[in-house]
């Protein structure tokens, strides 16, 4: 302790040494007093990740509830003109007359080479070619890559067995893109000759008046003239392998995924809470038996029994299978909450403030309402938040292995399962449902982290 020579300090005047009135104000707490929930909310609000997650969760719920009201597309309607289309694919189509058969005998004779007769459309591609020397027949191939030497010629479309059959009409599953046709000569023995024609063909999408009218693209009573360019139905997130609108399916799929993801945790947390509270309050042998039973249920291998129970509760034909899944989830998931609540009750029962309240003559229901429930709500809320992602995962997992919701009903899991099959050619069919699952789960996880930190009183002093 260093001392300062007194004369270095300007000596205050005598009035400064008058006794000051005792200042009670300075004895009060300088920081405002907050209730537990106010304080938790304050800390949650300062957690930017948790608040962003809260908005994502609200957004997902809005997407599920309000989405189908705004985007009125039936998730079961197949748009056969647009199968497995990625988002923002070309939607141009030209209005044409209905298909009329091609009189191939009337086709012009080609002097050399291979050419398209008429226009190449998704309705039909009509080819005619000049005879190849030494060929007694022709095989027609179509590929999506240029047919160069050594590369496969692609899909075999057909075989003309006469040397003078020099035309072919391709109507097989045409898409608006470039195809590479190859006409290969065949000799008497059916062997390929060295001779062949190749031609790249740009196919334009067409739609007949009747089809366009059926899809509400034109006014059926007053159709525009043929050749009018049209735009096909808009699918913001593309279509799946059956031509169904991905956005609509994701919205309806969200109903299943979020319904199971939110309702199942609500149910099993509620049941676990009652079970645990009962065991904790009654205590003694009842408590022992109840908790031993909970231990048994915990030991059941979760996903195996999800499959087993889902199977045992069965879904009748035409049902979606959501209720059996919900039931199975509740039956298997309650013990964790029950243990937690029981532990919490036993802990709180020993707390000093409970003894203090008892000493003051507080009745039991007051103790439960005023002390037990508020002090357990925090952990229950956190459990609930963390239960949502695992329930969503469980639904997705079951749907993925084909034990989830029955096929026509979309769910994010079953959509992922379908998308996996076309992962290499059409990645968007897997990407979108997977993204929705991941974002939702991420949001609930981060929200749960934030809630836990906000509600944990021990964290108050930290950070």
């Amino acid at each position: 302790m260093s001392s300062v020579p007194l004369d270095t300090i300007a000596a205050p005047g005598p009035e400064a040494f008058a006794l000051a009135p005792s200042s009670s104000a300075s004895q009060g707490l300088s920081r405002p007093s907050l209730s537990y929930w106010q304080d938790a909310w304050r800390r949650l609000k300062s957690n930017r990740r948790a608040i962003a997650s809260l908005w994502i969760v609200i957004g997902m719920l809005a997407f599920t509830v309000l989405g189908p009201k705004l985007w009125r597309v039936n998730p079961a309607t197949q748009d056969v003109d647009q199968i497995s289309q990625p988002p923002f694919a070309n939607r141009d189509a030209v209005l044409i007359a209905p298909f009329t058969p091609w009189d191939q005998n009337a086709a012009p004779r080609m002097e050399s080479d291979l050419a398209v007769i008429g226009s190449a459309t998704t309705q039909a591609v009509r080819l005619a070619w000049a005879p190849l020397p030494g060929a007694t027949g022709y095989r027609i191939f179509r590929n999506i890559f240029p047919a160069e030497d050594g590369l496969p010629l692609g899909l075999p479309l057909g075989e003309n067995l006469r040397p003078d059959a020099l035309t072919f009409e391709d109507r097989l599953d045409l898409a608006p893109r470039t195809y590479y046709y190859a006409i290969v000569g065949v000799d008497e023995q059916g062997r390929r000759t060295e001779q062949f024609h190749t031609l790249p063909v740009e196919v334009t999408r067409v739609i007949t008046v009747a089809e366009a009218a059926a899809r509400d693209l034109i006014d059926a009573d007053n159709p525009p003239e043929l050749g009018t360019p049209l735009k096909l139905k808009f699918h913001p997130l593309g279509t799946d392998y059956l031509g169904r609108d991905m956005l609509a399916r994701l919205m309806y799929g969200a109903r299943v995924s979020l319904f199971i993801g939110i309702v199942a945790p609500l149910l099993f947390v509620a049941f676990g809470m009652l079970y645990g509270a009962l065991a904790g309050f009654v205590g003694g042998a009842v408590d022992q038996v109840m908790m031993r039973f909970a231990d048994f249920v915990v030991a059941l291998p979760f996903l195996l029994f999800m499959i087993l129970f889902k199977f045992a509760f069965g879904a009748e034909a035409g049902e979606s299978g959501i209720l059996p899944m919900l039931l199975a989830l509740v039956l298997l998931s309650w013990p964790a909450t029950a243990r937690l609540v029981r532990g919490q009750i036993l802990l709180i029962r020993e707390e000093g403030y409970i003894s203090a309240a008892k000493l003051l003559g507080a009745p039991t229901n007051y103790l439960i309402l005023r002390h037990m429930i508020p002090n357990t709500m925090g952990v229950i809320l956190v459990t609930l938040t963390f239960a949502v992602p695992s329930a969503i995962f469980t639904e997705a997992f079951l749907s993925f292995i084909g034990m989830g919701v029955a096929p026509p009903t979309p769910s994010w899991g079953s959509m992922s399962n379908e998308g996996l099959k076309t992962m290499l050619s059409h990645p968007h069919e897997l990407m979108f449902p997977a993204l929705f699952i991941s974002i939702t789960v991420l949001a609930f996880n981060l929200l749960g982290d934030g809630l836990r930190d906000a509600l944990d009183a021990r964290m108050r002093s930290r950070e």
Partner: protein
């Protein structure tokens, strides 16, 4: 501030000068220690007394280099061990001193020992680190140290884990660990707070005996005036991050020169009336709570709770007044201009 190194009974072993420590917290910067100076000589016990949060633990942790940085920060001051600066010394340098020249024991022996290491291995560790002992040598010495700390069946006990020890035994083991390298200074941060009263006395006796045998200096942090009376040669009373009064143990107990010291004495249970002039035979609590060190008060830190606060106390920091050799108080009441004579308070003789 000018520095006058106070001359102790002999040359100071450890001298701390004008130490200031801050912490960044979510509520702002806390000025936990605000210019603390003290010294301690070999064979001497200095007690630093004060209530929770007054900065006494932070002070010694800063000396030991144990203040986590960030959020902590040493903003000012120095500490010298036998004349060599130890604050701001490089990490490696600080490590060479810790556990070797300065030993430290902590408040809660239950949590201050590694639960998965045997007691013996933990006592042997500083010997292996600082003295280069082999494992078996170190273990041998650890058993001797346990014996020295009066733990029965030391060789069997050395193989046990902390959870197999009682609180008092653990604190003895902690002491054995702290003195393993025969340090010059032993810092004891509330060594008896977590223990039973009967065990407290044994631990304090052990510390006193060890001090006598090894002539080490002890810096004892406590809030218990009873412990101070039993152990200390000199006392520094801390309040709100500052030393408000320092002096010999007799100065503090019989010639208290600061109202806070007086308040502490009035709050201490004794067999007789603690403070001359105390109204009743009742313990007198100090009303209120210490100031928020987010924004330390302009004037005296204690004035909000001081029954004798004057106007000047609220806006001007009090001067440090020399009461006698080695006895100083940081209080306006001791200023030559102060007209007040407070009952029970020792006043500087006015020339």
């Amino acid at each position: 501030m000018t520095t006058q190194t106070p001359e102790g009974p002999s040359t100071p072993l450890l001298a701390v000068d004008n130490l200031a420590v801050e912490f960044d917290t979510y509520g702002g910067v806390v000025q936990a220690v605000r210019g603390v100076s003290f010294s301690v000589a070999a064979g001497e016990t200095l007690a630093i007394v004060g209530e929770s949060g007054c900065g006494k633990s932070v002070t010694v942790q800063a000396i030991m280099g144990l203040v986590p940085m960030p959020p902590g920060r040493i903003t000012e001051g120095s500490a010298r061990l036998q004349g060599a600066h130890i604050l701001g010394a490089t990490q490696a340098n600080g490590r060479a001193i810790r556990g070797d020249q300065i030993g430290m024991i902590f408040q809660d022996p239950m949590t201050s020992l590694n639960p998965t290491m045997t007691i013996g291995a933990q006592i042997a560790e500083p010997l292996q680190v600082h003295r280069g002992y082999s494992q078996s040598q170190a273990m041998q010495r650890a058993i001797e140290l346990l014996d020295l700390s009066r733990i029965p069946e030391a060789s069997a006990r050395a193989k046990q884990y902390p959870f197999e020890f009682s609180g008092g035994m653990l604190q003895r083991a902690m002491i054995a660990m702290a003195i393993a390298c025969e340090p010059d200074v032993l810092i004891a941060d509330e060594p008896t707070t977590a223990l039973d009263v009967t065990i407290q006395a044994q631990i304090l006796d052990l510390l006193n005996d060890l001090k006598r045998e090894t002539n080490m200096a002890i810096v004892l942090i406590t809030h218990d005036l009873g412990v101070v009376a039993r152990m200390a040669d000199r006392v520094a009373v801390m309040y709100a991050g500052q030393i408000v009064e320092a002096g010999s143990v007799d100065d503090i107990f019989y010639r208290s020169a600061h109202p806070y010291t007086l308040g502490l004495r009035a709050a201490m249970p004794t067999n007789r009336r603690p403070v001359a002039g105390a109204a009743e035979d009742r313990l007198q609590p100090i009303d209120g709570s210490p100031p928020d060190l987010f924004a330390p008060p302009q004037g005296c830190g204690y004035c909000a709770r001081c029954p004798h606060a004057m106007r000047v106390c609220h806006d001007t920091p009090p001067p440090v007044v020399d009461m006698a050799a080695e006895h100083r108080a940081r209080c306006w009441l001791q200023h030559a201009n102060s007209p007040h004579r407070i009952k029970g308070l020792h006043h500087a003789t006015v020339d």
